[in-house]
């Protein structure tokens, strides 16, 4: 149960615009959590004050090190507690009136048996009495490209940080958040805020969604869920957020048992996942199926906006890939609508007679950069299609490295999403990154591209 005081609290936005951060347990020792966090703050160019705290040192990484939170000249917005679990309660108690929020990154709490459970209860009580908001424990905390706060304590040579972008991710699991960040960074997809809230003893997914709904930096939200305790509040917060920007979620642990010792068919059939799915529907949350779809969705929504509907235009220079894309679209409920008659006629006058004019539109081995761009312009302007999938095979000799930039200019349909599919070996894989650099979501297989298209289309439907 959430303590009542939070209802009157001003929310958690200060976690995302802190003027000052204290790092409790600061040390010079490389590889230690607090050391990694301090280095991240310096490297990322955190603009506010940083206070290393540790009674053992007078300076850490060239900064003055204070003996306790009490020694902070005024107040700090956030304290990151990188100390052993048993030391957390006393530090929190001493921080009363000195900090607004704490990120407890260490484990050894509710996830670690009875002693840990009691420790977490104690932490919650102290937070309740002192009005200190808590993220964690047992979490990675916040990676924020806006405030440049980075408490993710994995060194950057292991886990790359994504650049600034419009996607925000909230996750119960720290390792999931970290891995997703690393993949997004490698794919050139930027993020705004990433929050790993771990045991969520105080701040939970609903608090984060409340904040992200109002956050102008966040254009889309991806959520990783293991469990939700306050279901109705989650539905409220997610509904409010999804009314303003796309919200998508993956729920793991689908095999949960039914609701009651079932005595009706309904009770027997209603597994945990069915209820989560019902909740997602109520809240307008796009349901994602597993890790691959999560990444595809992040790529699609990280680089493109919602689609207005499910009508897909396929443009390719490989007939086979076109048919494969078309099949994949059908099986995911996307509409590969035929070309409207007038448009087909127009295209026939523009293109050589051996181009296959239809949907898929096959530009054959005679494809050029210009023919791709022209096809895109002619088919996507007007209200015939909602999403374009361009499958570029690199065999046709006339295609050049200018193609990605020509496509990214989206002639005539600035609002509609475009997805690229470019399967192939060494040469094609090198071209893959050109699309990425042009800001287009690019996929190596037809199935992956279509999956992303289906996520964008699901964003269009409410109810």
């Amino acid at each position: 149960m959430k303590p009542v005081y939070q209802m009157e609290n001003s929310g958690i936005s200060f976690f995302f615009s802190p003027a000052s951060v204290a790092v409790v347990g600061a040390t010079e020792e490389p590889g230690k959590i607090s050391n990694i966090i301090l280095r991240s703050l310096i490297r990322a160019g955190f603009k506010g004050e940083v206070y290393p705290i540790n009674p053992k040192y007078s300076s850490v990484l060239g900064m003055e090190c204070l003996a306790s939170i009490d020694d902070i000249p005024e107040k700090a917005d956030i304290a990151v507690l990188a100390i052993p679990a048993p030391a957390v309660p006393s530090v929190l108690k001493s921080a009363r009136g000195k900090i607004r929020g704490a990120i407890i990154v260490g484990g050894g709490f509710a996830e670690a048996g009875e002693a840990g459970l009691n420790l977490e209860k104690e932490v919650r009580d102290i937070a309740y009495k002192s009005g200190i908001r808590i993220i964690g424990p047992n979490c990675m905390g916040i990676y924020d490209t806006v405030s440049r706060l980075d408490t993710f304590f994995i060194p950057e040579d292991r886990i790359q940080r994504p650049a600034k972008g419009g996607l925000s991710i909230i996750s119960q699991s720290g390792s999931f958040a970290v891995t997703a960040m690393d993949e997004l960074a490698a794919d050139g997809i930027g993020v705004a805020r990433v929050v790993s809230y771990g045991n969520k003893t105080d701040v939970n997914e609903a608090d984060c969604l409340d904040f992200l709904a109002d956050d102008p930096e966040t254009k889309a939200v991806a959520v990783y869920i293991e469990s939700v305790e306050d279901g109705r509040r989650f539905v409220e917060a997610a509904s409010r957020c999804s009314a303003r920007k796309p919200v998508m979620a993956v729920k793991v642990g689908k095999g949960g048992a039914g609701i009651t010792a079932a005595r009706s068919h309904t009770g027997a059939i209603a597994g945990r996942y069915e209820i989560y799915r019902a909740a997602f529907k109520k809240a307008g949350v796009i349901e994602l199926d597993g890790y691959e779809e999560f990444l595809a969705a992040c790529k699609a929504f990280g680089m493109q906006g919602r689609a207005a509907g499910n009508r897909v235009m396929i443009i390719t220079d490989g007939g086979g890939v076109g048919v494969g894309l078309s099949d994949a679209c059908h099986s995911l409920g996307l509409d590969v609508a035929p070309l409207p008659e007038g448009l087909a006629e127009k295209l026939k006058t523009e293109f050589p007679s051996y181009f296959a004019i239809g949907n898929p539109l096959d530009l054959t081995g005679s494809a050029t950069d210009e023919s791709f761009a022209l096809s895109l312009q002619k088919t996507m302007s007007g209200d015939h299609y909602d999403i374009a999938i361009v499958a570029a095979l690199w065999g046709p000799p006339a295609l050049t490295d200018n193609l990605p930039n020509m496509l990214s200019q989206k002639p005539g349909f600035t609002e509609k999403p475009i997805l690229i599919c470019t399967p192939g070996g060494v040469y094609s894989r090198q071209r893959f990154s050109l699309f990425r650099e042009a800001g287009l979501p690019v996929f190596a297989t037809p199935e992956a591209a279509v999956r992303a298209a289906s996520v964008l289309a699901r964003g269009a439907r409410r109810g």
């Binding site: 059939i269 209603a270 069915e274």
Partner: protein, 233 residues
């Protein structure tokens, strides 16, 4: 919806220490929410049954009413399509013997004599209460589709009319309601109404944990609840 009357039924059953409602009680509840219910009488003995059947008109169904028997047909407690008084007497005797055999220790509170609903398409509408997300409603088509294939859809309650229609359209067996292979187009509004009402009951009456109409028989015009059960606490 008569919330107070529904609460009264649940309260009385709870005061008797019961965790589930009898079929007539569950039917009274959905009746109070204006979901159409097959007309029926509860009787104590065979004389009462014959009198009730005369009022209801043959053919009738005969069902045992017992707090101890949740799966009536498995225990031999359901007899369908009874055509006249003499058949009713015979079937009555058969049922008593079979129940004595299958469930000798169960308390029998009486028998339900009910009009035989004409054949239609059977659907199941269930309400459940989830610890985290609160009341939710399930929809599916009757029989194998639900039990074996789990071809069902869920929504959190309260359910809007739009959501109720989306729930129907979501199940794979939906075409069975819309004229598949020459069958007739069924009254989807009547189903939507029942879905919404079940959601409303669960939302309004917190002592009902599960409520299930199985089946609701649906026709070209209208629908009727033939069996219902409820878990309370």
């Amino acid at each position: 919806m008569d919330t107070r009357a529904i609460e009264k039924i649940v309260k009385e059953a709870l005061s008797l220490g019961r965790k589930n409602l009898l079929e007539p009680e569950a039917k009274a509840i959905i009746g109070h929410a204006s979901i159409p219910v097959a007309s029926h009488r509860v009787v104590k003995d065979v004389v009462g049954a014959i009198e009730a059947a005369k009022e209801i008109n043959y053919p009738v169904a005969l069902k045992v009413v017992s707090p101890d028997i949740l799966h009536k047909s498995d225990a031999g407690g359901v007899s369908l399509n009874i055509k006249d008084a003499s058949e009713l007497e015979t079937r009555w005797t058969q049922m008593i013997l079979e129940l004595a055999d299958e469930m000798p220790l169960s308390a029998i509170e009486g028998f339900l004599v009910e009009e035989m609903a004409p054949p239609g398409t059977e659907v199941i509408i269930g309400g459940i209460r989830d610890a985290q997300f609160g009341p939710a409603v399930m929809f599916g088509l009757g029989g194998v589709a639900v039990e074996l294939l789990k071809d069902v859809s869920f929504r959190l309650a309260p359910v809007t009319k739009e959501e109720a229609f989306a729930m129907m359209a979501e199940v794979k067996s939906f075409p069975l309601l819309t004229g598949y292979r020459g069958s007739t187009y069924k009254d989807l509004d009547a189903i939507a109404n029942a879905i919404m009402k079940v959601g409303e009951i669960l939302t309004e009456v917190s002592s009902i944990k599960e409520l299930e109409i199985n089946p609701l028989v649906v026709y070209e015009r209208g629908a009727v609840a033939v069996d219902a059960r409820a878990i309370i606490s």
